[in-house]
Amino acid sequence: MSFRHNWHKVCTRSEPEVAAESMSSEKNAPTKSKKQTGVKLFKNFTSPLFKLASMLLSQLEYIGTFIPGFTYLYTNLFYRKMIAREIKAAGVEPGDKVLHVGCGSLPATPIALVRAGCRVIALERNEKSLERARKVAAWRLNKKELSMQLEFRHGNGLGVDSSGYDAVWVSLHVNPQPGIIQQIIFNLDQGSCVVYRKPTAWLSQFYPLVTPEELGGNLNSQYLTGWLGKESVVIWSQDFEPDEKIVSQDDGEEISLADCRIGEAGVITQIPDCQLLAPLGLRPGKYVRLRARQSCGGPLVVQTAGRKVAVDRDLADAIRLRRKSNG
């Protein structure tokens, strides 16, 4: 996702406040159509990298299902621990009714949920993948489980009604993930929850970043850190109101830049005494976004308004910022 595009979006929102403080000398400014306004909260995620990544992944999974042992290995490597953690955090119990949006051709999540005793509806919009998923499930589950606990449905996540389920799982590469999640939360029954996988680190380049804060309201949520660039988020339903204003509200907590997650942004409130920081756009009142964290105690890569800057970790630790939601 282009950072800069969203940058302007966020900047536009905060502009009136900043401008109000210092308008006095700017009365004579020529009136031009400055920057874009009227931005939607969520855009369809259409980055070419995302398209390529999800196409490659679904093809890999599809082809993989024809290779003996691949399903087993793939599931154990990438999904087993993650799903176990999610099931525990979401608190689903045997007999619960669960929806999984975007099961793909290798339905590791539905199979694990069935094994945990849930009744699962697995949704997939690609018919070819769905056909394959049925076959894979047939190898991995017994007849009783297949007929009683698992149902594959052809359909798009955007139109789905999430009411009547105890929990809803959303895959990483459903598109548009933000829109689907928002809709699911909106329709969710009281006490139910939605579990989705959020990209972290390098994966955040391929996938959109959706955080509970961004979805609006005071959502009760929990992060489960995984590996290989995925992170699970569980959100419980409660008085959910989609709130666009949340993006420009200044009530975020204050944290150190070094404690940010990759992709997280905020407004600087305090910088340490280092003359190089200010000219590079690291000044109080400025927006910054954490782009990468180097290994071996190396610097953090921070995006400021016009440039990318690598900042030593200790310095970054002394930079305080008020967290803003991701976009």
Binding site: Q294, C296, V311, D312
Partner: protein, 596 residues
Amino acid sequence: MADCHQSRQEVEELESSILLIGPPNVGKSVIFNYFTGLDVGMANYPGTTVEFSVGEIDIGGEESARSYQLIDVPGTYTLEATNAAEQVAVDMLTQRPAAAVCVLDAQNMESSLYLLLQLLEHEIPTVVAVNRTDLLANEGMAVDVDYLSSKLGLPVVETVAVEQRGLETVRTELSRLVEEQAQQRPHFSSEKISDTNSHSRWEKAENLARSAYYRVGEDQTEAKESWDQLLVSPATGFPIALLVLTLIFGLVVGLGLGLRRFLLSPLFEHFVIPLIELGVTSIIPPGLWRSILIGEYGFLVKGLEWPFALVMPYVLSFYLGLTMLEDSGYMPRLAVLLDGILNKIGLSGGNIIPLLLGYGCAIPGILAARAMANRKERLTIAVMISLAVPCIAQTGAFISLLAEASIWLIPLVFLFSFAVLVLAGIILDLLISGDWTPTVLEIPELLLPRPGVIAKKIWLHFKHFLVDGAVPMVIGVGLAALLYETGAMEIMAYYMRPLVDGWLGLPEEAATPLLLGIMRRELTVLPLLDMELSFLQLFVGSVVGLFYVPCIAVIATLAKEYGIRVAAAILLLTTTTAFVGGGLILRAGWLLAAMF
């Protein structure tokens, strides 16, 4: 700072000079080269210019044309001087130059304007050039120069220096400004700039920048940003860095080898040298002079073959690779990736740039270290480059020497040099005391290198090689021929026998490269070519050559930068390391041979 004061005297009278000022990596050197017709270094990373350059600029109308000194000041984010290069800029301002061209970065107007405001406090007549507007246009944005001009009361020109757009307008505005000044008119008409504290200056810069930007179209940088994210995230960045460096290394060695084997060697072997030999034998009778010209160290044979057939191909291929790394903006990304690891040996990520330049020639590497924030890092880099970073000429010589015997010797020698570099870093970290400066490094935008610029830079490096590389090499070979043919070499070799033969296990003639090597680094290696050395001797010879005296020009540079004592210490260190290391390796080799 001694060198700053020294070099300031070189600029005769600042009253008739025009300063070119701006943040780092904004394109000042490109503008400088355009106006002066000179060729100072340009690259896509901050801190390319570490020393100011002076050239002539002609301004004024046709009847009143006058030439001024144009001074390319090292890039500075602010006038609060945080390193040696920036201090130069600040020093120049207090000398009351005739005018200044302040180059602003269109993508970073806020900080550029801050610098401009600081500059204006010095009350120097200024023309403002807003450069890199093409890159801003890719983001769908533009800068309203008329607005800035009316607000600041200064001429403001939109430029794209790499395409020479807008530069003539800068010249016109500059002429007008200088003329006006001659007629004692005030140079800035509107509001008086009297801000003196940084807070109000920032506020002013922010307001100006915010009002000056306007949107003209769609942002087209999305895809590039996605790729960039992969380059700077460690999980993907390291594999990519390995791939990039391998590709560049492959390009340098492969292209160099190809040029040599298929083009230059056949050309020299079958055409140039036979022709010279024919010419010489027909003119000069057999004897001392003929031998000097075409004998063992034939001045016209080896003196041409070595620099042009053996070394030149690698010079060309190396600078092709380096230029692509420089101009794409990849080097700072590499610096950021490696910063954590380099910190462990007392260096910082930014040091990778002088080190990489050092693989071309030690001198630009040592000079580039000036952009480093503290003396400790600068000195460490200088020692490391002098000690164990072979210049491209020497690398070319290594490849010629070693590839014949065993292809594995080349990576072996290079791995050994890496190991010594790491060791040297650790030891120097303990020895040299100094403040630790936290890394704050700007990562410039990724750009596709322009073929024209690449060609021009390779041509410049080639010219530089002809003058500063080939000529000393030819003289060195001539000297060798003279010593060899007159028998002086034999006498010297006799006296150096205990060292060369006894300690290093090399044949007696190997005294020659040790003597010549003082002049040029690759001359410690090239004479070994025809000596039919064993595997172990080749390795010992290479290691001695690698660590041995960096060439005369490097020692002179070191003396200029760090003083004669440091230069002498480095000379002693490298020579001792070469002999001690070479001798120990020989004995280790014997031990290994005895064991298996």
